[in-house]
């Protein structure tokens, strides 16, 4: 990582932490903003935040790894999430997940070599009426069938 890039990162994180008055109580809010900014929360980001809000970086690491929403790995340009909530599970989400894995030739939790897609499963987006549900970025696809997976991917 170059010096410049690092400086840029420090500036952005300083702004974010200031927004929350550098209050360790708002660590989760800070991490949300930071992940929104950088896409993920690598070690460097965690160390800088630790220094800014004056808590041990080990504590931040503990929080980042505790919550499933936070990730330390870079996601793809189009992050694909297959809902594995109960309603989706009962309606065959597992098969849809497998089809995505097969078509993209990656496993759940991985990113394609070109960085275009990443795969994850999540717990219930609360759109159970549309089960099984897949979200790609901000877009939500409902009642997804295995045969539709290829078509969905071709949109990107």
């Amino acid at each position: 990582m170059t010096c410049n890039k690092n400086k840029n990162m420090i500036n952005k994180l300083t702004d974010i932490c200031n927004e929350f008055n550098n209050d360790p109580d708002d660590l989760i809010g800070i991490l949300h903003k930071a992940q929104g900014e950088f896409g993920y929360l690598p070690k460097e980001v965690q160390i800088i935040i630790a220094e800014l809000i004056k808590i041990p970086s080990s504590k931040i690491y503990g929080v980042v790894t505790f919550y499933s929403y936070f990730t330390m790995k870079a996601k793809g340009k189009y992050p694909i999430s297959v809902c594995m909530g109960t309603a989706c599970y009962v309606k065959g989400a597992e098969k849809v997940l497998k089809e995505f894995e097969d078509k993209l030739k990656i496993k759940n939790g991985e990113t394609t070599p070109d960085g275009k897609f990443s795969m994850s499963s999540l717990r219930c987006v609360g759109a159970c009426g549309l089960a099984p549900v897949v979200s790609i970025g901000e877009k939500i696809y409902g009642s997804v069938k295995v045969e539709e997976v290829e078509k969905i991917l071709s949109e990107y």
């Binding site: 987006v125 759109a127 159970c128 009426g129 549309l130």
Partner: protein
Amino acid sequence: MKKIKTISDLNAIRKVLENDRIDSEDKKVIVKVAMSTCSIATGSKKVISFFREQMGLEAIDSLVVQTGCMGLCHSEPTVIVSVPGKDSVIFGNVTEKKVNEIITSYIKEGNDIEGVLLKKNS
């Protein structure tokens, strides 16, 4: 909204707003489109803008508004249509084609059409 300073002010404002609501229900065709996460995922954004466009073209005195989840997830997008003097009805699985049918046949000509999920007394 202007700052409400006392409880009696709040009650007065409520009266006005309530009357406005009843008034428009008496005179206008009111279309409410569900705009919750599930509805938006099935295309309700398109439905609401198409409704607005078509109602404008047909020059129908109407209000097209968004609302929350109606609980009828199995038939999203859902739309409530209230025509003055008639019970409100909820249409399910509304597409652009259905919007045209609702406007020409149900609202303008007053026919009963298919696709009604339920009637409710407004």
